[in-house]
Assembly symmetry: C2
Homo-oligomer: 584 residues x 2
C-alpha cells in the first residue's frame, strides 16, 4: 500500500511507501499518529502548518462486514486539539481498494483559488475549480456523478466549509448518492483552508487490500457478519427504526436532553420518535432501511420523504433528531428533516449546530420551539451572513456572541444527545475524551441504558469511570480497524464475535495479533492524542463538564457529581510525556 502527500502550497503530489512503523496502523490510529508526528501542536488550525489526513481503517476495503469507515484527522479548529472524525460512505473503501493507506493534505495556497483533487489508479491530480465553488453538497455530488458516473467516490465541503466555520463538516457520498458526514470538529474548515472544494475517487483497477491469511479471514468474516445479524440491536432495532429508535428509549430513561439541557424528558418525544418516523417513511414511500457503505449488514440509515413523497434527507440520525428536536423543543419531524437536509447540503455538523441554536434560543435570538426560526438560522449559515457566521462557528462561539453562560460544550465541542447526569458513563466520556464532547468516543449507552455487555447504573457514579475508560480504549481500536461503532453491541455480548474481530485483524495484518495487541492499540491511540492535546495547550482542566450540570435534571433529579480527581483517573494508563508509547 502507499501514502499520497498533496502539498497545496506547491501544488505538488508525491507518493511514498508505508513506513514500517505505520504498517499495523489504520483509520484513527494512523490519522492521529500522523498528526502527532507531523503537525506542530500550537499551530493555527487553519494555517499552512496544519495537515488533513484521510485514512481508511485496517479492515476497510475487505470483505469484513461493516468495515467501510473513513477516519479524517487534523488539528481541530473547534477544539484546538487533535481530531479524528469518522464517517461512512464510499470514499474509504475506494481509497483502500486503490491501495492508499493515507492521503495527507499539507500546506495551503497563497492565493484565493479553489482546487479539486482526483484520485485514481494513476495517482492524484490537482485541478483548479471554479464551477462548483459556492455550491451545496447535493449539487456538487449530483454534478460530479453526472460527469464521472454514479460509482465515483466524492469527498466535499459545502458553503459552511468554504466560510471556514468551526462546525463545518466534510461530506462523503455514499453508494446511493446520499451524504454521510465526518461531522465533528470543523474539519470542513481545514479542507477549505487548504482550498480544496472536493476530492473525487475512481477505484477502477485498484489492487485492493492485502490479506495475510485469506482462509482465516473468510472464516472470521462469516462469524462476524452472522453475529451482527443475530444481535437484537444490530439485527432488528437499528435496521427497522434506525438510530432514532433511541428517542423513546432515552426519553424513558430520563436522559433525553431537552430545552438546552434543562430536562431529561421531552413531551414531544413521541412525535419525533423512531417508531413515528418509521410510519411516516413507509406511508410516504421512503426507505426505512438503507446502508451507508457496501458490506454493511445493519443498514441503520433510511430515506425520508416529505408528505408529497419527495426526497428530503437520508442518514437521518437520532442525534440530529434529538438536536433539532428535544434540545430546541421542536416536535415536528418534517421541520427536523428539513434542518438535516440543510445541514447536509451546506456541510455542517448537526449536533454542533443544533446545540448552537439551542444556545441562541437561550440568548433570546429566537424562542425555544420555533421550528421555522430554526430553519431560518440554518439558512443564514448557508448565506454566510453575520448571524450565520456566529451560529456556524458552534455552540461555544454562539454563547460568547450572545453573552450566554449556559452552554453545553466540553473542549468547545457541543455535548450530544445523552444527558451526562442521567447517563453518567457517557458524561465521563464527554469530559475526558481527547475529542471534546463526543458520544461515539466511549458509548456507555450500551451498559447504562441498553444493558448490552452487562448493566451499569447510569444514575450513580459507581462503575462509570471504568466503563468509560474501557469503552474509550475499545473504540479507539474499532475506529482504527475501520469498523462501524455499532459492531460493539455484538462484540460486547458475544465472545465469538469479539474473537472474530481479532481474527479479522490478525488475518489482515498478522500473524500473531492477539486481544492484548488490540487493547494496546486502543491505549496507544488515546495516549498519542492526549499527548498532542497537552502540547497544544489542552490540559486536564479541560476534562470537565460545564458548571451548570451541577443542577439536578428531572425526572430523576440527578446532578453531575464526579470530582476532578475521579475524572483524572480515566487516563490512569497514560503516563503523559514520560512514557514512550509502545504500540508502534
Amino acid at each position: 500500500m502507499k501514502i499520497y502527500r498533496v502539498n497545496m502550497t506547491k501544488l505538488t503530489v508525491t507518493s511514498e511507501g508505508v513506513p514500517e512503523k505505520w504498517h499495523k496502523l489504520g483509520g484513527r490510529a494512523l490519522t492521529s499518529t500522523i498528526i502527532a508526528e507531523e503537525v506542530e501542536p500550537t499551530c493555527h488550525p487553519l494555517g499552512k502548518k496544519n495537515k488533513l489526513v484521510f485514512a481508511p481503517g485496517l479492515l476497510t476495503g475487505t470483505a469484513a462486514a461493516n468495515s467501510g469507515r473513513m477516519s479524517v484527522g487534523s488539528k481541530s479548529p473547534l477544539t484546538g486539539g487533535i481530531k479524528e472524525s469518522n464517517s461512512g460512505g464510499s470514499a474509504a473503501q475506494k481509497l483502500a481498494k486503490l491501495g492508499i493507506k493515507a492521503l495527507i493534505i499539507e500546506g495551503k495556497p497563497e492565493d484565493n483559488t479553489f482546487y479539486s483533487l482526483h484520485v485514481d489508479i494513476s495517482g492524484v491530480k490537482i485541478q483548479e475549480e471554479t464551477e462548483l465553488v459556492g455550491k451545496g453538497n447535493y449539487e456538487v455530488i449530483d454534478k460530479l456523478s453526472k460527469k464521472f458516473g454514479d460509482r465515483i467516490g466524492v469527498i466535499t465541503i459545502g458553503q459552511a466549509g468554504e466560510y471556514k466555520m468551526s462546525a463545518a463538516n466534510i461530506s462523503i457520498k455514499d453508494y446511493h448518492g446520499y451524504i454521510r458526514s465526518a461531522g465533528r470538529g470543523g474539519l470542513g474548515a481545514v479542507m477549505s483552508s487548504k482550498k480544496i472544494k472536493y476530492i473525487t475517487i475512481d477505484d477502477q483497477g485498484g489492487p485492493g487490500v492485502p490479506i495475510t491469511d485469506k482462509n482465516k479471514f473468510m472464516d472470521a468474516a462469516r462469524i462476524f457478519a452472522k453475529g451482527l445479524k443475530e444481535h437484537p440491536v444490530t439485527g432488528q432495532g437499528l435496521p427497522t427504526y434506525g438510530t432514532n429508535v433511541l428517542v423513546n428509549i432515552l426519553n424513558e430513561a430520563g436522559g433525553l436532553p431537552t430545552k438546552n439541557f434543562r430536562m431529561g424528558r421531552f413531551e414531544g418525544a413521541n412525535k419525533i420518535s423512531g417508531e413515528t418516523m418509521y410510519e411516516y417513511i413507509v406511508d410516504r414511500k421512503g426507505k426505512p432501511t438503507h446502508n451507508c457503505h457496501a458490506g454493511c449488514v445493519i443498514s441503520c440509515s433510511q430515506v425520508y420523504n416529505d408528505k408529497d413523497g419527495n426526497f428530503v434527507t437520508a442518514g437521518f440520525e437520532y442525534e440530529t433528531i434529538w438536536g433539532f428536536g428535544a434540545v430546541c423543543m421542536v416536535d415536528d419531524l418534517d421541520i427536523i428533516a428539513q434542518a438535516d437536509r440543510i445541514c447536509d447540503d451546506i456541510g455542517i455538523d448537526t449536533i454542533e449546530t443544533a446545540v448552537a441554536i439551542s444556545t441562541a434560543m437561550e440568548g433570546g435570538i429566537i424562542p425555544f420551539g420555533d421550528g421555522q426560526g430554526m430553519l431560518g438560522l440554518l439558512r443564514e449559515i448557508g448565506k454566510g451572513s453575520y448571524l450565520g457566521r456566529i451560529i456556524g462557528n458552534g455552540a461555544a462561539f454562539t454563547g460568547k456572541a450572545f453573552g450566554v453562560d449556559r452552554v453545553a460544550v466540553v473542549k468547545n465541542q457541543a455535548i450530544p444527545a445523552y444527558d451526562p447526569r442521567a447517563v453518567k458513563g457517557i458524561g465521563v466520556t464527554y469530559a475526558t475524551t481527547p475529542m471534546g464532547a463526543d458520544h461515539t468516543a466511549g458509548y456507555s449507552v450500551t451498559h447504562n441504558v441498553l444493558k448490552v455487555g452487562g448493566h451499569i447504573d447510569p444514575l450513580v457514579k459507581e462503575g462509570n469511570i471504568k466503563l468509560s475508560r474501557d469503552l474509550q480504549i475499545a473504540t479507539a481500536a474499532i475506529d482504527s480497524a475501520g469498523l462501524c461503532l455499532f459492531v460493539a453491541f455484538s462484540l460486547l455480548d458475544k465472545p465469538e464475535v469479539y474473537q472474530a474481530m481479532i481474527d479479522l485483524i490478525d488475518a489482515r495484518i498478522g500473524p500473531n495479533t492477539t486481544e492484548d495487541d488490540i487493547i494496546e492499540l486502543g491505549k496507544y491511540v488515546l495516549g498519542v492524542e492526549r499527548k498532542f492535546n497537552e502540547a497544544a495547550g489542552i490540559n486536564k482542566a479541560a476534562d470537565r463538564l460545564p458548571e451548570f450540570f451541577e443542577e439536578p435534571v428531572p425526572p430523576h433529579n440527578v446532578a453531575w457529581d464526579f470530582t476532578a480527581e475521579e475524572l483524572d483517573e480515566v487516563f490512569n494508563f497514560v503516563d503523559g510525556e514520560k512514557k514512550e508509547l509502545q504500540y508502534c
Copy 2:
C-alpha cells in the same frame, strides 16, 4: 481598613475586617490573591462562581505621587485566565479614602434586572437601575454627576459591557468627568453578568489610609515626586505629547505594527504622531496636558477637540492611536479620535477592538485604510448587531468568524502597539505574561527603545528573556502598590527614587519592608497568577506567539525566533504547584 462583599445572588452586602494574610497586599496582589483563593479556576467567567474584585493599591489614597491606580481582578471572559486590569480615574482613591481595601462582587441575580451600587461612609447600597440601562458611559457619568455632584466617583459599563462582549471594559470617571478604562480582558462583561450597571462612590467623611510612619512617608513622597518631575520622559516627553510621543519613536525603531502586523513602519505615521496631535490640540483650544488622577505629577493625558473646538475625547493614548491608525492603515487623527470617543462611550477596549477591526480588514469585511468603515464597525458594536457582536468579542473571535488565520493574539488577547519581532523584550512579555498579550505587564520598551535603565538590543534575543522577567516582577509589585507604571522610568534610572518607593511602601505597611520584600511580592503575584491559569486550563503551550511572527518584518527584516524552551525560562523562579508561595 475593611473588605466589602456584595452578593448579587442574594442582593446582600457584608463587611469584614482584613484578614492578617492580606494586610500587606493591595492592588493586583490583592485582586489576584482573592481570585486565586476564592474562584474555581474552571468556572464560566460569566457565571455565578466568578467574582469581580476592585482593589486600590497599597499606596492609593495617600499623598504619594502617581499612586491613584485601581486594580480590577476576575477570571477573564477573553483569556479564560486570571486578569488584573488597571486604571486611573478617581474611584481607587475614593475607595481607599473610605478605608476600603477591596470591594468583592459575588454571585449573579437570577432575573434580568440591572442594579447599581452606591458606596459611602455608611456602607454599600444595592438599588435597582432602569433609567441608565442601555446608555453610554458619557451619559451615565453626566447624569450621575448631576445627581450626586461633580465629586462623585463612578465605575460604569457601557453597551458593550451590557452585551457581555469579551472586549468590554470597565470605565472609571476621572476628577474632570472624563473616562479612564480598566481596558483589557473583558471585565465589563463580568460586571454585566453580575447585573451591575454602575457603582457610585462618595468618599466624604472617609477615614483615609493608615500610615505607619508619617514622617518617613512624607520625606519619601517628596523625593519620589521630585524624581518623577526631573526625569526627561515623565518630566517632559509625556507631559507635552502624552503617550502618543511614541508614534514617531516606534516608527523610527521599525516597531510600529502596520497593516495587521505586516510592517514595522507606517507611511502615515507623521500625520498621527504626538507632535502633530500637540499642534492640533493647541490650535483647537484643547488641553495638551491633563492628569488622570489627583496627585499625578506626569499628566500624560490631554483633551482633544475637533476642528470646531468641540470636545471629542480625553485620555487619547498611543496604543489607541496606533490601533485605529497604523494597524488599520488609517492616517486621519480626527477619525481616530472619534473611534476613541465611541470606544470610551460604549465601553470597549481600544487595543482589542482595533486589532479586531484589523482582523476584519484581513478577512475583507472592509478595506485597510477605510476610516469611515472603521467607525461604522464601532457603531455596530454599540448597537449590538450581529456584526457588532463579532467585532466586540475581540480579535481572536473576529478571526474565527471570518476564517482568518493571521490574528495577532496571545491567550486570545490582542497584541498591542509594539511589534514583538522588532522589540523582542516586549514580545517575550506578550508571550509569557499570565494576562495574555499585554505591554504593561513588562514594558521592555524602556531598555529596548528608550534606553531607560540601560540598553538591550531590541532586534536580537540576547538579554531580552531576563529583561522581560525582571520587568514583569517589578511591574507586578508596582501594580500592587497602586502606582502608575510610568514611575518606572524614574525608578530605573535613579536609585534614590527607587529607594523612595520602597520607603513609601515601608512607611505605609512596614516596618522593615526591604527591596527583597518588594521583589518577593512581584514574584509572589506572578506565581499566584500562573498557578490559577494552569488550573484554569492554560498551560505553557499558551506562552507562544502566533506562527505568522516567524515572517520577518520590514524595515529590519527580523523574525520572531525564540524557542519554546527559551520562553519557558521566563518563569524559572516559579515552581508551579510544588512550591508554596511565600510572600503572604
